[in-house]
């Protein structure tokens, strides 16, 4: 996909551009808010990654507000050194779609960009989800793998639903905490891993082909394999 990065720090920019390009994306980069706004307004992008604090000229949040007022619906990920929840709320309120604090792991950034892109393509929340031979019907809340029904606790259902909606993408622990439990803090333990292994017991244990995989140093992914 085509991504615009508005970021003034050269090192961070290089690191992000290189990583995104390796992941197969095209990246345009603007080091100044003005250039960023110009590019965002004139080119069609799939995702915009916007640094919140830009030196001198225009503030990142101001650019987002201008873009939104102009009717742009491109998903925007805000990067910021301001880590507090209030800052995050302000960022999202200005029209950003997701918020990532610096310093961040590249895997986290990539996963969030993918998730934003996926979300922007529009998903019907009521359509059944399918990954390989695993089926989930959000309406009836029935989950089956092959012919076998799988019984899930409500939270396990939510966890699997989130993973399946992002099938084929890496989903980080932080994304799971935020979206499945709505926990915007780091519980400092491996509880998410334990939840995942419990879920794995239910959907993968008795099957030859595992669907829920751990991605080293990044998170988890549900995919049909290959």
């Amino acid at each position: 996909m085509k991504i615009l990065l508005v970021e003034d720090n050269e090192r961070v920019s290089q690191f992000v551009i290189k990583g995104l390009q390796e992941a197969g994306h095209t990246v345009d980069h603007a080091a100044k808010g003005r250039d960023g706004m110009f590019l965002a307004a004139s080119e069609p992008y799939d995702v915009i990654i916007m640094d919140r604090m830009l030196p001198g000229d225009i503030d990142g949040l101001a650019i987002i507000e201008v873009l939104r007022r102009a009717g742009s619906r491109t998903p925007i990920l805000i990067l910021s050194a301001l880590a507090e929840v209030d800052d995050r709320i302000r960022g999202l309120r200005s029209g950003g779609d997701d918020y990532l604090t610096k310093p961040f792991a590249f895997g986290e950034l990539l996963a969030r960009v993918d998730a934003l892109h996926r979300r922007a393509q529009g998903v019907n929340r009521e359509l059944p989800l399918t990954v390989g031979d695993l089926h989930m019907d959000p309406m009836t809340r029935k989950v089956t793998r092959g012919d076998r029904p799988i019984t899930l606790q409500p939270r396990e259902f939510k966890l699997l639903e989130y993973l399946m909606r992002h099938a084929g993408q890496v989903v980080t622990r932080t994304m799971l905490l935020e979206n499945v439990w709505e926990y915007h803090f780091d519980p400092q333990t491996n509880v998410v891993d334990v939840h995942i292994s419990k879920l794995r017991q239910k959907i993968d244990a008795e099957f030859e082909r595992p669907l829920l995989r751990t991605v080293r140093n990044a998170g988890y992914m549900v995919s049909a394999g290959d």
């Binding site: 880590a83 929840v85 310093p103 939270r155 439990w181 926990y183 780091d186 509880v191």
Partner: protein, 474 residues
């Protein structure tokens, strides 16, 4: 000296006193004057009356000889007596001529009269018409002067005493005040130079300066504690960050020196990233604590149900408990609504459950209870059957970066309980560490909605209390 507030206050009082004195004396003076005047006129009239009687009895000549006899026998004293004919030619008396400035119509007059041998005197005169004669009876006003003088002397003396006493009291007060202000100034300048141990001198009395000094001492106490806390925390930060940074450094240095196989290198790099993440985590925790301490987070307060919050947290940690073969029991009453920051409360609760799971023994039990007490507080209790906390350590575990003996060898940076305490303080809640023999019960009492809304609107900074109960059955 004129700028001394004590002195100007005293002078102000003196001026006020003098004004009051004058305001008091003036009507008195007036009433007195009127009374005296009336008295004098009566005396004169009585004199004139007696002469009139003589005139009625003996006629003009009789009166002449009567007056002459009196003047001659010096009975008249300092009185002025004058009898004239209709053209004011003197017939008898001790005045040579009818005074030029005295009218002839009957009545009382006050005027200066040249008496000849006795000089000009301030006279109260009474003029009467007796047939064709004019009669003048006068008395020297000076007779009353000593009385007046005494009045003025009295008033002046009172004013003088008042002024001198006021000035003296002002000076003494100023001196006393200056010496106290001086000692306060000395203490404060010692504090300015960095010695926070100093306190303002106070005594047992309840006067204004003492009250002020006590309040300031209270403030100094708080400041000293805060500064002490900040110093401690910065020491701890420096110390706690050194450990992961030292590990990181040696890892990287070893990597540079040894140049191991690519696989080993990547593993080491991963470990290095984990070290950096640890440092970042410590910073995040500290930032959050600082923000909670500053009370900035109260803006994030929303109405919430603590039972929901606790059950989510229990459910979140249930698999971790299962993994360690710990029974995680959850007991909840009906809903317990309160005002609070859901994210912070969830984090505090997470820390408590995480701690309990960490310290509960294998096959042990952790119990989480939430209920609404009769006193309007919601009580959240997290109990374990681990080693517990010794009484001597109970206060310390709430300090930042403190790690008890029993937590050696467990993961964590020693900020968990301080965060719980900070969150409790922000919510006006009470945090209690109680013994269960064996084990520890951490009880968090949060004011419920109705009372919470009140206490938050009335007291913008609710005082959190931390009770450390020893040996209390939970």
């Amino acid at each position: 000296m004129m700028r001394s507030s004590a002195l100007s206050l005293a002078l102000g009082y003196v001026a006020l006193g003098i004004t009051a004195l004058v305001l008091f004396a003036a009507p008195l003076w007036y009433a007195w004057q009127v009374t005296i005047q009336d008295g004098r006129s009566e005396i004169l009239q009585a004199d004139a009356m007696r002469l009139t009687d003589v005139y009625r009895r003996d006629g003009g000549d009789g009166l002449r000889s009567f007056i002459d006899a009196r003047v001659h026998m010096q009975i008249a004293g300092d009185r002025i007596l004058l009898l004239t004919d209709s053209s004011r030619r003197p017939l008898a008396g001790n005045l040579a001529v009818w005074p030029a400035n005295l009218p002839t119509s009957a009545g009382n007059y006050r005027l200066k009269i040249d008496t000849g041998e006795r000089g000009i005197q301030d006279t109260l005169a009474h003029v009467a018409h007796l047939g064709d004669y004019y009669l003048l009876v006068g008395r020297d006003n000076k007779l009353f002067a000593p009385l007046e003088r005494r009045f003025w002397y009295g008033l002046t003396a009172a004013i003088a005493v008042l002024s001198i006493a006021g000035l003296l009291v002002g000076l003494i007060t100023r001196r006393a005040l200056m010496s106290r202000v001086h000692s306060i100034r000395q203490t404060v300048s010692a504090i300015i130079h960095g010695d926070l141990k100093h306190r303002l001198p106070t005594n047992l009395s309840d006067d204004e300066l003492n009250t002020l000094a006590r309040t300031i001492n209270g403030m100094l106490e708080q400041i000293e504690q805060l500064v002490h806390g900040v110093r401690n925390v910065s020491h701890s930060i420096a110390h706690d960050l050194r450990t992961p940074l030292a590990e990181l450094r040696s890892r990287l240095e070893e990597l540079a020196l040894m140049r191991p196989s690519p696989e080993m290198t990547f593993a080491e790099i991963d470990a290095a990233v984990a070290d950096v993440d640890r440092v970042i985590r410590i910073f995040d925790a500290l930032l959050r604590l600082a923000q909670i301490d500053a009370g900035l987070r109260r803006s994030g307060f929303v109405p919430l149900d603590l039972v929901d919050l606790v059950s989510t947290a229990v459910e979140f940690y249930a698999p971790a408990a299962e993994l360690k073969n710990i029974r995680l029991n959850f007991k909840a009453g009906a809903s317990a609504k309160a005002m609070g920051d859901p994210i912070l409360l969830a984090q505090a609760l997470g820390n408590l459950i995480d701690n309990a799971l960490k310290f509960a023994p294998e096959n042990g039990t952790v119990e989480v209870r939430v209920r609404r007490r009769d006193d309007g507080c919601a009580e959240i209790a997290v109990c374990d059957d681990g080693p517990g906390i010794r009484d001597s350590e109970k206060v310390k575990v709430l300090e930042r970066f403190y790690r008890g003996d029993s937590s050696r060898g467990t993961p964590g940076v020693g900020l968990g309980l301080s965060l719980v305490q900070a969150v409790a303080k922000l919510h006006g809640a009470c945090l209690e560490l109680a013994d269960r023999n064996p084990g520890l019960a951490v009880v968090l009492s949060i004011p419920c909605s109705e009372s919470a809304a009140d206490s938050l609107s009335v007291a913008p900074a609710p005082e959190a209390s931390t009770r450390v109960a020893a040996g209390a059955p939970s």
